[in-house]
Symmetry: C2
Subunit: 116 residues, 2 copies
Amino acid sequence: MVVARRPGSYECGIDAAMDVIGGKWKVLILWALDERARRFGELRRLLPGVTEKVLASHLRELEADGIVHREVFDEVPPRVEYSLTPLGASLNGALEPLGAWGREHVLGAEVRAPRR
Amino acid sequence: MVVARRPGSYECGIDAAMDVIGGKWKVLILWALDERARRFGELRRLLPGVTEKVLASHLRELEADGIVHREVFDEVPPRVEYSLTPLGASLNGALEPLGAWGREHVLGAEVRAPRR
DNA sequence: CGGCATCCCCAAGGATACTG
DNA sequence: CAGTATCCTTGGGGATGCCG
């Protein structure tokens, strides 16, 4: 996103959080990882439209922020798994009310969607 | 903002909400309006760094999304007040856990170990 | 006071190709 | 499979000026 990446201080906790989840696909990544760990290609398939470059950079940012854990398995073919850290899980929990709000007030308004 | 402005459907409620609050200053606007109604110039002073153009466009988007109410008082000098609609208030409530998360895990971490 | 109208910039994000 | 490496596009947002 934008806001103000690491300017040293924020007005309130919400911008700080918005900074962490501000990427275009980040909340979707968190959502996809909520259930279980996922491989890179798996995530790519779960997020139709994301490019490899953007997915990789988002994952690296989330890793730097301590939200996701990246584990490399030394195998052939290579395998890398991404999972939520405890911090990431807590973020997802904090996101839940917002998701419920969106489902109820935005999605509900335009469609009676059977989400995920 | 980013994500996908009104593409007709979202993956989950969170993107839908992210779409609404995706502007650089929107959550700060919501925060400022949470306490009471505010005038345009008042908001400008509360958000150091925002330009008139951006503040006005954000307010209009929030108004279009049914989040804020704009009331014009036909006086001289002109007076315009912005306030949260019930929907806006509920959004603010849904944002609260996220704000708490940010305060606890981002702001707190920065204070203890300032980076950059 | 509370705005639009303009012009402009730049970083987030997309497309494509290549590699360990 | 899981990424880099490059190049390019886009539009959100900043700066400035004018107006009812």
